[in-house]
Symmetry: C2
Subunit: 327 residues, 2 copies
Amino acid sequence: MQAYSSLFQILNKAIEEQQNSLNSSSPKEMYEPMSYIVGLGGKRVRPLLTLVGCDIFDTNPNDAIHAALAVELFHNFSLIHDDILDNAPLRRGNTTVHEKWNHNIALLSGDGMMVKAFDVLGKSNPEHVAKLLKLFAKTGLEVCEGQQYDMNFETQEHVSVQDYIHMITYKTAVLLGCSLQMGAICANASEENQKHLYEFGEHVGIAFQILDDVLDVYADDEKFGKQVGGDIISNKKTFMLLDAFELANEEQTKELNHLLYSKEISSNDKVKQVTALYNTLGVRELAIKEANKHTDIALKHLEELKANPSKKKDLKEFALHLLNREV
Amino acid sequence: MQAYSSLFQILNKAIEEQQNSLNSSSPKEMYEPMSYIVGLGGKRVRPLLTLVGCDIFDTNPNDAIHAALAVELFHNFSLIHDDILDNAPLRRGNTTVHEKWNHNIALLSGDGMMVKAFDVLGKSNPEHVAKLLKLFAKTGLEVCEGQQYDMNFETQEHVSVQDYIHMITYKTAVLLGCSLQMGAICANASEENQKHLYEFGEHVGIAFQILDDVLDVYADDEKFGKQVGGDIISNKKTFMLLDAFELANEEQTKELNHLLYSKEISSNDKVKQVTALYNTLGVRELAIKEANKHTDIALKHLEELKANPSKKKDLKEFALHLLNREV
């Protein structure tokens, strides 16, 4: 987005310097994988939000650069370890750390990355460190808890839609809220303004995750980066699947269970037939409605935020741009 | 030790409360293993040293209680993950976390424990948090680096005695120095005094680790908790083994290599013959001499520390008590 080009410039320079520093650190067995995963890119939404959370109060975004780097490093730590937990071969189209090196290297470089996140956070203005640490550590714990809930869901028989919202809130959304609030802390914003930014980020995160599930089923094959229907094939407990189970009558429940657990159905047929059932039950619309509800809550918090009006508008546009993907 | 009974009382109460809090946290799949490993005990030397580092300046040791808990939680995080890395079945005579639950649970509860350490640190007096975080994160990184060096040694052909000292300094000794210094920070001690306590802790740690290697070979079978000669059987690159390689003539080097890598020698014979070679080369005495050198450096720093003289004496006695094990 044009409005954020100068913030991205600050951010990309800092990330590049961070990578150079990782590359020149010893032992290389631990630091190379850290540099590798950071180098795989990604949209850098979290650290950008930290700079935005500072800049929106007309405070120099450089004041929030260490907090921004910390949040990006923490996110990358969670990617390395989540890929071990999920036994994932690929991350952003590249080999995962545990595949490229091995499990022990991935475990230890992930650990190192997490400590590094706190180390970088500690380079912030000492006046802000206590508040930043409190928020960052609390959020970090929630991210770990969310990952554990997600793992539990794999074997847990009954998961409610509410359980699911709770899980994605912890696993994904709180770190977006934290990213924005850390920027606000670095701008000496009032606690009320900090809270509005946090809630804005959290609810945008929830909406994003629900729409991501919808996209997995209803995306345009050619524009979508990965296999459409992947969540259906792997029986992932998404908002739509859980909602389908809550709405299905006895016969539909039977059909859904058959589709999920029968070994005689091809992946293609499974995707087609589960999607047909989703259409009958209207869970796509319900998911979009739920996402819109959270988007509205987010925008309400943004409205109530006392900050630079034109920068509030930029943030609103950025969020809607993130959420407005063709579903 | 009698002198520290009231500090232990403060510490044990805080650890018990921490365990209760872990036990009542959700998801239990993540928090139960955390509570389990903390409950396995250990000597609690690190958090005790944090309280000592505060109390020695006649400051209320309760002011350092969060830093003390943080260091104990960090140490326990490293135990969970090190046991995965080493594929260890037992820890303090009990099943390790990855054996009792599984690898994924051990990975994630270890992560949670590390974040929890930073979370607890953040509850310290806000005036001290920036300094505490800086030291704690720097030390945490060094501990990870030390673990990586240790892993590298397993496959690295040439390891010098100097490499070894560097490894144990990072893997073990720096956390002892950090423990003491964090206490001193909470007591608003001068930087010079902080430094003396740090160096004292670090050098006691180095001496302790070298003597631990000696004990593994020369301990009295009945008094020693584990198998005497375990390090020799597993070809662990200890101070004595590395020193033996540096001192051995051509023939002795050949013999040593034969003893380490031949599959035809029984464990008993291997221990006996390697020990005989150690005796010939005098590496036991050299190890003790090296340990004494570090003990002397430690005591010199303690002498220069400006603090309560009688409490300095207590700390000296405590350190010598830790080091004075029958070798």
